[in-house]
């Protein structure tokens, strides 16, 4: 009986541990620095996490489907540069859909390679990380991209605007999280993503078109990346070619922190949002406590390892690995 409770407790932590950790963090930070729970501060954190968060939503689909996406960082740079460039050439109303179209093409290409050709997603997206970076540099000629007349455009609404008093990046992040969360948990497509990631062979044997589902997860990811690029471009109205560099691994860290298994089949949009917010609040909390931004890296490291370790420890029923 004792064992059962212990197991139950283990399972509870395996399932809800990330939520518990989140609450504990908030309390500790709130006690340490009262300014932490200030509504403006919280809004500021969510706002600055929005870009990472939007990308993490898409990667959640890819990871639950049993694959990786290391190309989102450089793809985000691409989206940002392209939309900024096209803004002055076509005007914002045409530039935005054009940028989404191009980014989705990249996503479709990756989805084709990983889904239909069944190539290893780690290497494919690693290659695409490099290739898309090259594409971006070629597009921009290596120069920074700026909107010529920053005051004469409505383009800033996605990054700098407000909807009913709420900063628009937060609104976009929340809306997208809601929509994608519902898609993942409530629609047939979402169910298939879990099936394909949980056991691809069994999914095939159940008549699930595995290749198409994987393909779609990369489209979702590309859509999210395009959205993130839009927010980024709109917020800064100008950008370097490397604006998204390194984000791919931070995004992955947020998704893993949210409890998605790299083996696929597990994770939720809600937990990814929590993972993103934890990263954001750690950074913010440490800053408020007077530590430099890079302190969060070390803390994040410890948290990721602990989170994944405790998760698998709960599943295998023992803390230390059986590796001899």
């Amino acid at each position: 009986m004792a064992e059962l409770t212990k197991q139950g407790l283990g399972r509870f932590f395996a399932r809800q541990g990330i939520l518990v950790a989140f609450v504990v963090f908030m309390i500790v930070f709130a006690l340490a620095t009262p300014r932490f729970i200030d509504i403006d501060n919280i809004a500021g954190v969510v706002r600055s996490s929005a870009i990472l968060g939007v990308m993490a939503l898409g990667v959640t689909f890819v990871v639950i489907g049993g694959n990786l996406d290391l190309s989102v960082g450089s793809m985000m740079s691409f989206s940002t540069i392209v939309v900024l460039d096209l803004h002055d050439k076509l005007g914002p109303a045409l530039a935005i859909p054009a940028m989404f179209g191009l980014t989705l093409c990249l996503g479709a290409f990756i989805g084709f390679l990983v889904g239909y050709l069944k190539l290893n997603s780690l290497i494919v997206t690693l290659g695409m990380l490099s290739a898309i970076h090259g594409l971006t540099l070629t597009w921009s000629g290596g120069k920074n991209m700026d909107i010529a007349d920053k005051d004469a455009t409505w383009f800033g609404v996605f990054g700098q605007g407000y909807v009913a008093g709420v900063p628009s990046p937060i609104v976009i992040f929340a809306l997208l999280a809601l929509v994608l969360g519902v898609i993942l948990s409530r629609t047939p497509f979402g169910r298939k993503v879990y099936a394909v990631g949980g056991n691809g062979t069994a999914a095939t044997f159940s008549g699930i078109p595995r290749a198409r589902v994987v393909f779609m997860t990369y489209l979702v990811s590309a859509f999210c990346v395009a959205t993130a690029g839009l927010i980024q471009a709109s917020r800064s109205m100008g950008s370097q070619n490397t604006v998204g560099q390194g984000l791919e691994l931070e995004v992955l860290a947020a998704v893993i922190l949210g409890g998605a298994s790299l083996l696929g089949g597990a994770g939720t949009v809600f937990k990814t949002v929590i993972g993103v917010l934890i990263l954001g609040f750690i950074q913010n909390g440490l800053l408020l406590m007077g530590l430099a931004f890079y302190a969060q890296y070390v803390v994040t490291w410890v948290i990721i390892i602990l989170a994944v370790w405790l998760d698998i420890a709960a599943k295998r029923g023992r803390l230390w690995s059986p590796i001899a």
């Binding site: 290391l70 390679l113 050709l117 069944k118 190539l119 290893n120 780690l122 290497i123 494919v124 690693l126 290659g127 695409m128 990380l129 490099s130 290739a131 898309i132 970076h133 090259g134 594409l135 971006t136 540099l137 070629t138 000629g141 290596g142 691809g200 062979t201 095939t204 044997f205 595995r210 560099q245 390194g246 691994l249 931070e250 992955l252 860290a253 893993i256 790299l262 430099a292 890079y294 302190a295 969060q296 890296y297 070390v298 803390v299 994040t300 490291w301 410890v302 990721i304 390892i305 994944v308 370790w309 698998i312 420890a313 295998r316 230390w320 690995s321 059986p322 590796i323 001899a324």
Partner: protein
């Protein structure tokens, strides 16, 4: 049976054939397109190429062993940077300065020790917690980078020691110091992987972990040793590079892990482990550097390199799959 052997031979030779094609292409294309007058196959140019291959190359050689073992290490870039910071900073410590040039080997020792310790941390976590190496090193990539920043804030760490610079810029038998380090590392690791019990066991573990465990090979210590080895090599790479440059930015070494993995995969090492060779990785490293220089030589924008390398990586994967595919009666799963 024969067919398999031939496929193996093709695989091992492929990277060198690719290098030859690159050389031929850039030499010929260079005749028409080159922005400079020098020939691409110029001897000094090639020597320089080897030297420039060294920093990523040394790391990629270590990554080969990690991947043969069935793991991956994403933290090498950060390890590289931290070792560089320790190298340069330690030389400005008062007691070190008192030692004069004797501080150099000591500083090297500190830097290399840093690498070994960081590698050991990764290895121990992978071994003891059973968390996948991808996640462990993804975490420590962030963590180690944080340590780099903590060391000196966002300021670059600089210390120029002219004895060191002279050493780093020296040429021996025509080859630069960095090149010697690259080749020496390759030779030693090649011996380790082909001649020692540790190397052969690393193959066995990556190839069929269950069989290795059943045969009584202790997987954990092998993981630990190999992570310590790659930590050491990342530090060695930093030592070689920063002895000359004398200044390290906290963001240095970013994405080195991805370049190293690219070189290793180009060299034909299997991501799943158990197959790969040090010599082929050396080929992969040279092929990438050739591509960089070659594209520059024919006047292509340097940015095109990223595009080309990415697409080549994917093509290699695709060709490998086509080579290994069986008949159409395969189960479609």
């Amino acid at each position: 049976m024969k067919k398999d052997s031939r496929a193996n031979l093709i695989k091992q030779g492929a990277i060198w054939a690719f290098i030859v094609v690159e050389l031929a292409f850039f030499s010929i294309a260079g005749e028409f397109l080159s922005v400079t007058d020098t020939a691409f196959m110029d001897f000094d140019n090639m020597l320089l190429l080897l030297k420039q291959s060294a920093p990523i190359g040394i790391i990629a050689l270590g990554m080969t062993i990690i991947m043969i073992n069935g793991n991956i290490d994403l933290s090498v870039g950060a390890t590289f940077a931290l070792a560089a910071v320790v190298l340069l900073d330690s030389m400005s410590w008062p007691f070190m300065q008192a030692l004069g040039d004797w501080a150099i080997p000591l500083a090297w020792g500190f830097a290399l020790l840093t690498g070994v310790v960081l590698g050991a941390i990764n290895g121990l976590i992978v071994w003891k917690t059973g968390v996948d190496a991808f996640i462990v090193t993804l975490g420590s990539m962030l963590g180690y980078r944080g340590l780099v920043f903590m060391y000196n804030g966002e300021q670059p760490t600089s210390h120029l020691n002219w004895t060191l610079v002279d050493f780093a810029e020296a040429q021996f038998l025509g080859l630069h110091t960095a090149t010697w380090f690259l080749l020496g590392t390759a030779l030693i690791l090649w011996l380790v992987m082909t001649r020692t019990v540790h190397g052969r066991n690393a193959y066995a573990i990556g190839n069929n972990r269950e069989a290795a465990v059943n045969a009584g090979i202790r997987v954990g210590p092998h993981f630990l040793i190999n992570f310590m080895l790659i930590g050491f090599l990342a530090a060695l790479s930093a030592v070689v590079f920063y002895s000359e440059s004398g200044s390290v930015n906290p963001n240095d070494g970013m994405l080195y892990e991805l370049w190293a993995i690219t070189a290793v995969v180009l060299g034909g090492t299997k991501l799943a482990g158990g197959y790969g060779s040090i010599v082929s990785t050396l080929g992969g490293v040279i092929a990438i550097q050739l591509l960089r220089k070659g594209l520059g030589h024919i006047g292509a924008d340097t940015e095109t390199v990223n595009l080309v390398i990415g697409l080549i990586l994917i093509s290699v994967l695709f060709l490998d799959r086509q080579l290994n595919r069986k008949g159409r009666e395969d189960l479609k799963t």
